[in-house]
């Protein structure tokens, strides 16, 4: 079975995660926030590991822009 991107709820504590995400950016300039995001994406990508899943996530993220 090949792994696929999980779009179903998977976060332990959604509200707490969201709060932590916003908190991580507190007092940062937009430029610093961009850098933080880039680092974060790389860290999380390594955690996921599977290229097929990462490609799906990239496609999903980008497709959302077209729809907006």
């Amino acid at each position: 079975m090949t792994a696929t991107l999980n779009l179903a709820p998977n976060l332990d504590a959604p509200d707490a995660f969201y709060e932590a995400l916003i908190e991580a950016h507190r007092d940062l300039t937009p430029e610093q926030s961009h850098r933080l995001n880039a680092r974060l994406i790389l860290l999380l990508a390594n955690q996921v590991g599977d290229l097929a899943v990462l490609r799906e996530a990239l496609a999903q993220a980008r497709a959302g822009l077209a729809a907006a």
Binding site: H34, R35, A38, R39, I41, L42, L43, N46
Partner: protein, 552 residues
């Protein structure tokens, strides 16, 4: 310092002139016909010409110039290239003169980020790389070419016209004494990145041009940096850009400074601009001489098809990459290696013309692999957009603290030979195998003993097909192949060469058991393998590798 004082016998290849000599062809009433004419005596044209001549095919090799490569071009020559040069009779010369290295180090600012070993496994004849100036390589090739019978090397002969007519090609050639015409059954266009032949035929090499400029400075100095590839991102002595340092023979060091697109080439090559950059790296009181300075830009591109009728494109004429990864000359020499035996087989009537389509298909796929690696490295070193730079910098940043990010740092993925996995010349595996010696892979080397003396497997591979058997030979031995039998279990059949797997590495590298057999093409690529080969199967695989399946 007296230049090259140690090698008294060695000519100064940078200044060597090769005399133009009038050919009898220039006085012929009708254009004389030759089986193969090669345009361009760069590393690729020279390698192809030597290979063909060694196979008994007469070759005319034309070059518009009468000198070797000037100044700084290729310096990193890969293991596979040395192995091909071994077959062409100059591997030892290049390996002995070159600076051997296996280790690369990547620095961020003033700290070592990580290092990589390109040949982590011992017991190979040739190192991962040697560094040697391109003019030495071309000089050795030219000397080998001039010593071969049947190889007619004509300096100061410029191809100025080309026309395909039915079963041949008509060429117009310009010399210091006027022009003349030649006919060829086949033409190899190895006339470099600007390929006049490509233009004459209305063809293009398409791809991407990168908006960046690099300054090359070759300096002569006595320094004790180790023989390693050192690459810096954003070093204190050249902030915001990258720098590459490489050792070459004769105490010459290659320093490559990234300058950015806005740099003015005329300004940047002036000594008053170059010297401070070098001093910033080497120290203010460093003593050195400038050998060569130039600015280069590059493109990643290739021709759509490498075969156009009777004209075969090879080397930079067919494809171009950025220097990061040292894939230009190295892949071009592999083109020559792939083409020469096929052209010889077609000319001798042993293979259908379709075999030459496999040259195009195999080397186009190889070019794609090289372009992919080269483009990825270039995107990392020269980010094209703000977001691309943001991620690049984030990777570098993280690489200091998190090991995973080091694998993302790309300062050039260095040339390795292409595995021709999808080639129509391969016989797909019917038996189970582990390891890397899949059909399409170039045969890996291993230490052996033959007649009691130590040697290397690749030295024992013939000019034609080679059958490499382990322990027991097949039911019958094909006389069309050179058969090697590793550690014979019983009597050695007539015509078979016994070798000893002295360190047990040969069997390990080929995942061999008693009975295993590998069929190697004349360019040393695996084309079939079996756990228990039989003569009929071997013959069928040989016919497949000669293109008879493609033709039918």
């Amino acid at each position: 310092m007296s230049a090259a004082s140690a090698d008294l016998m060695e000519p100064d290849y940078q200044r060597l002139d090769f005399a133009y000599r009038r050919s009898r062809d220039q006085d012929a009433p009708e254009p004389p016909r030759h089986p193969v004419v090669i345009a361009g005596a760069g590393p690729v044209g020279l390698a192809a010409a030597i290979d063909l001549a060694q196979r008994g095919i007469p070759v005319v090799l034309l070059d518009d110039d009468n000198r070797l490569s000037t100044g700084s071009r290729a310096i990193c020559f890969a293991k596979r290239t040395l192995e091909i040069f071994d077959r062409l009779g100059l591997g030892e010369l290049v390996a002995a003169k070159g600076v051997r290295w296996n280790l690369g180090k990547v620095f961020l600012r003033d700290a070592l980020l990580y290092q990589f070993d390109l040949l982590p496994e011992p017991a190979h004849h040739r190192p991962a790389f040697v560094n040697i100036q391109q003019y030495y390589v071309e000089g050795y090739l030219a000397e080998r070419a001039l010593a071969l019978r049947g190889l007619d090397l004509r300096w100061s002969n410029r191809v100025i016209g080309l026309e395909q007519a039915g079963d041949g090609v008509l060429l117009a050639v310009e010399t210091p004494e006027g022009s003349y015409r030649l006919r060829a059954d086949w033409v190899i266009a190895a006339d470099g990145g600007r390929s006049p032949i490509r233009a004459m035929m209305g063809l293009e090499s398409k791809g991407r041009v990168f908006r960046d400029r690099f300054l090359i400075a070759d300096v002569r100095m006595a320094a004790d940096f180790p023989a390693e590839r050192w690459f810096w991102f954003d070093p204190p002595f050249h902030p915001g850009q990258s720098v590459l340092l490489h050792r070459q023979p004769d105490n010459v060091w290659r320093i490559d400074f990234q300058l950015g697109w806005d740099a003015d080439p005329a300004l940047e090559t002036a000594p008053e601009r170059v010297l401070p950059r070098i001093r910033a790296l080497l120290g203010q009181d460093a003593r050195f001489e400038l050998e060569w300075v130039s600015i280069y830009t590059f493109a990643c591109r290739r021709m759509e098809h490498f075969r156009h009728g009777r004209v075969l494109f090879a080397g930079d004429a067919a494809h171009g990459v950025s220097p990061f990864g040292a894939r230009g000359a190295n892949s071009g020499v592999q083109d020559a290696d792939n083409l020469a035996w096929k052209l010889a087989a077609v000319l001798r009537g042993e293979a259908p013309e379709a075999l030459l389509d496999s040259y195009a298909a195999e080397r186009e796929a190889a070019a794609d692999e090289n372009l992919l690696n080269s483009t990825r490295a270039t995107d990392f070193i020269t980010p094209k957009s703000e977001i691309s730079r943001l991620f690049r910098d984030a990777v570098l940043d993280l690489a200091r603290e998190a090991p995973f990010a080091r694998a993302l740092v790309n300062s050039g993925r260095l040339s390795t030979p292409t595995v021709l996995r999808d080639s129509a010349l391969n016989t797909p595996d019917a038996d189970g195998f582990e390891g890397s010696m899949v059909p399409g892979a170039p045969a890996t080397d291993a230490p052996i003993r033959i007649d009691g003396a130590p040697g290397w497997l690749l030295e024992q591979i013939g000019q034609g097909f080679t059958l490499l058997c382990f322990g027991v030979p097949p039911d019958a031995v094909p006389e069309e192949a050179r058969t090697l039998l590793v550690d014979p279990a019983g009597a050695v059949p007539e015509g078979v060469i016994a070798i000893e797997d002295s360190e047990g590495l040969l069997a390990r590298r080929y995942d061999a058991r008693p009975g295993t057999g590998y069929l190697l093409r004349p360019d040393q690529h695996v084309c079939a393998r079996w756990r228990a080969p039989c003569l009929a199967g071997i013959r069928h695989a040989m016919a497949t590798a000669l293109g008879w399946e493609m033709a039918s």
